[in-house]
């Protein structure tokens, strides 16, 4: 009896101590497990973002031994830079064409493939193939296809009586040609996301529509498919926008921003200023603008698209 009490009395504090020790132990373990990730996050992501922000307020260029704080002077220069505005405009046009193009075609492909009875996985694989292919290699192929003399595109268009051009070298067709390549590549990706969205629509809803007197695929699309697919569509639009904003590879390989800055886009300008002219501060200011766009899009995605739980 007394020993029992003694044990109990003695155990309470030691138990608490053990619990504190256990908590300390987990704290230590968790910190150790995540330390490499945290360190690298600061070193390679957060630190550099802060550095870009700071650099944009200096006049530093790679190779300079020291620098001055110049407040907004770099941004001032940027606002007065025609190429910058050209790059912004081109990027927005590019995004504005690629989003609807790849969404409409991706959705169309998804709907068609889901509605046929044979060859679904075959078609899905075919339309997805460009997503898997190294864009640089395919850009080189597209350059060849768009070659005025012996490219396939010129020949096929020639068959329809359209005059052959050096599509990538003409100021008015270079950017659309890049959009075409982007749509060609993004279509399959969007299609797969739409297919996932389509399969999440309950089959009974389509049955209910049938029974309610919906006769045509057209009515079914507007009554059931499209409304239920809206969240997916918004989502696909945003990620397509984020990806398109980062267009660089095709520009660098095929047009170098030309002709006459007709395909100058934001990331390409960052690359030129930062790694060809080594004007680090100016490139940083451009990067801040670029980051601003991406942040806006992502915030829109997080707060509008993902929060907008229509139903359920």
């Amino acid at each position: 009896m007394s020993t029992h009490e003694a044990v109990q009395a003695g155990e309470t504090p030691s138990f608490a101590a053990a619990s504190v020790r256990a908590r300390m132990r987990y704290q230590l373990i968790a910190t150790m497990l995540s330390a490499p990730a945290i360190a690298l996050m600061f070193l390679l992501l957060i630190g550099p973002v802060v550095a870009v922000l700071l650099l944009s307020f200096t006049d530093w260029s790679l190779g300079d031994s020291d620098f001055n704080w110049v407040d907004m002077a770099t941004y001032q220069e940027m606002v007065e830079d025609d190429i910058f505005w050209k790059a912004i405009a081109n990027t927005l046009i590019y995004v504005g064409i690629v989003i609807p193009g790849s969404i409409i075609l991706g959705l169309g492909a998804a709907l068609l493939i889901e509605s046929v009875t044979v060859g679904r996985s075959f078609w899905r694989a075919v339309y997805f193939l460009p997503v898997m292919s190294t864009l640089i290699a395919m850009a080189v192929v597209w350059e060849f296809m768009l070659n005025a003399k012996f490219g396939m595109v010129s020949q096929v268009l020639g068959f329809f009586g359209v005059e052959a051009k050096s599509w990538l070298q003409e100021p008015d067709t270079a950017l659309p040609a890049l959009c075409l390549i982007a749509i060609w590549q993004a279509l399959g990706f969007n299609m797969v996301l739409f297919m996932a969205g389509l399969t999440s629509i309950p089959r009974e809803l389509h049955n209910a529509a049938e029974v309610d007197g919906v006769r045509s695929a057209w009515d079914r699309f507007w009554l059931v498919t499209w409304p239920l697919l809206t969240p997916v569509t918004m989502f696909v639009a945003i990620i397509t926008a984020i990806r398109s904003f980062q267009v660089f590879d095709t520009v660098h390989v095929l047009t170098k921003g030309g002709p006459d800055n007709a395909t100058m886009v934001l990331v390409y300008q960052i690359y030129q200023e930062g790694f060809e002219f080594f004007r680090s501060s100016y490139a940083s200011a451009l990067t801040v603008v670029f980051l601003g766009f991406i942040f806006l899009l992502t915030l829109f995605k997080v707060f509008v698209v993902e929060r907008k739980v229509h139903y359920q």
Binding site: N207, A208, D212, V214, R215, D219, H310
Partner: protein, 384 residues
């Protein structure tokens, strides 16, 4: 309203035959339940009637019109789905008005937004609003019309699904386990409501359920499906009292009917656990199964019973008691239903004696089919 005729319907999915030559005539205004255990093909049959599934062979008629090649949207049949299948993005009002818009507006007027702009469409919309509101007041859900399905409780969603079905005047209503997603209490309540709705509309209802209690309480007639075959069709009383197959006897009624090992003697007499039942039959001699509903058994004083047993378990349901008992000849415990007043006499482990009325005995052959019996004491005596 119309009659529905199901003729020799079979349906196979690959090699699996889910419906085997099912025929059923449903007169105008009848409430028929298709009942059976899950996987018996009842939902498939309903989907064939709706046109959502194509039969492998056989014919469906509505009145005199063969509808086998008619699409679901052209059959003018409405359906309440198990999951309700409400359009999640539409308000209750819009959900209920979908069938009306589909039939009354043309495809241009139906385009999103246009039905409020085109003058012709506006007039039709007015009529639709009136009809929807009438249905809403009939189902007592006028206050829900502006809500989205996601904001409704299970019972309210179910009501909306019913509303969408009754807003037009279809040839028949198909209901596919409409109560299975509700909690037990609400289910009992909705049973009454649907039965009342049927009486008020006087329409043809085809109701699929795996719950025999729903079928018993609501239907004019019950059609029992087992393994793709229509085993018996009849009124609830009929199916309960005169089951034509042991599977029907076992499926209908809760608690389940007691089945005992029996025998048809060569003289035609029927034995139950080796005890004569006082029944005779013309069927061939051999083993048989004897069914006795729990309420057909009676507890009698020691010495007066036909057979004895030991109480293994007592379920107290308040108004009545289910007493489980077993004896050495029985494969599994049997159940006897007792009034509550008899409770004081019993305890688990106690020995009891059981009696029954010969008229309550249902005899089934080795293949499970019902065997007709007669209650001829004299004949038995003569043969003895």
């Amino acid at each position: 309203m119309s009659s529905v005729h199901i003729q020799n319907i079979t349906k196979s999915f690959g090699k699996v035959e889910v419906l085997k030559d099912v025929s059923l005539n449903i007169p105008d205004g009848e409430f028929v339940s298709l009942v059976g255990p899950s996987g018996c093909g009842k939902s498939t049959l309903l989907r064939i009637i709706a046109g959502l599934e194509q039969q492998s062979s056989g014919q469906i008629r509505i009145d005199d019109r063969v509808i086998d090649n008619v699409r679901p949207s052209e059959r003018n049949i409405s359906m309440v789905f198990q999951s309700y299948a409400l359009y999640p993005h539409l308000s209750v009002f819009d959900n209920i008005s979908v069938p009306l818009r589909m039939s009354r507006l043309n495809s241009i007027q139906r385009l999103p937004g246009l039905r409020h702009l085109l003058p012709g469409a506006r007039a039709v919309e007015k009529g639709i609003r009136a009809d929807v509101e009438q249905v809403a007041s009939l189902l007592d859900m006028k206050q829900l019309l502006d809500r989205k399905p996601g904001e409704l409780s299970g019972g309210q969603r179910q009501r909306v699904a019913v509303g969408r079905a009754i807003v037009r005047e279809p040839h028949a209503f198909l209901l596919d386990e409409p109560l299975s997603n509700l909690d037990a209490k609400l289910r009992v309540h909705m049973r009454t409501e649907i039965a009342q709705l049927h009486r008020r509309l006087g329409a043809t209802f085809i109701y699929v359920t795996h719950d025999q209690a729903e079928a018993m309480t609501m239907s004019d007639r019950i059609a029992v499906l087992m393994d793709g075959e229509l085993v018996q069709v009849g009124s609830p009383d009929d199916v309960y009292n005169e089951p034509q197959d042991i599977r029907v006897a076992e499926f209908i009624g809760s608690p389940r009917i007691n089945t005992f090992a029996g025998e048809i003697r060569s003289d035609g007499g029927v034995d139950l656990l080796g005890v004569p039942t006082g029944l005779v039959t013309d069927a061939e001699a051999g083993p048989a199964q004897v069914g006795l509903r729990p309420e057909a058994l009676r507890l009698v004083p020691v010495g007066e019973g036909v057979f004895a047993g030991t109480v293994t378990h007592i379920e107290n349901l308040g108004a009545e008691l289910m007493v489980h008992f077993v004896n050495e000849n029985m494969e599994r415990p049997a159940i006897i239903r007792l009034d509550h007043i008899e409770r004081h006499r019993l305890d688990v482990g106690e020995s009891i004696e059981i009696d029954f009325l010969p008229g309550a005995v249902r005899l089934f052959g080795p293949d499970g089919a019902r065997v007709p019996t007669e209650e001829f004491m004299e004949k038995q005596l003569v043969n003895a």
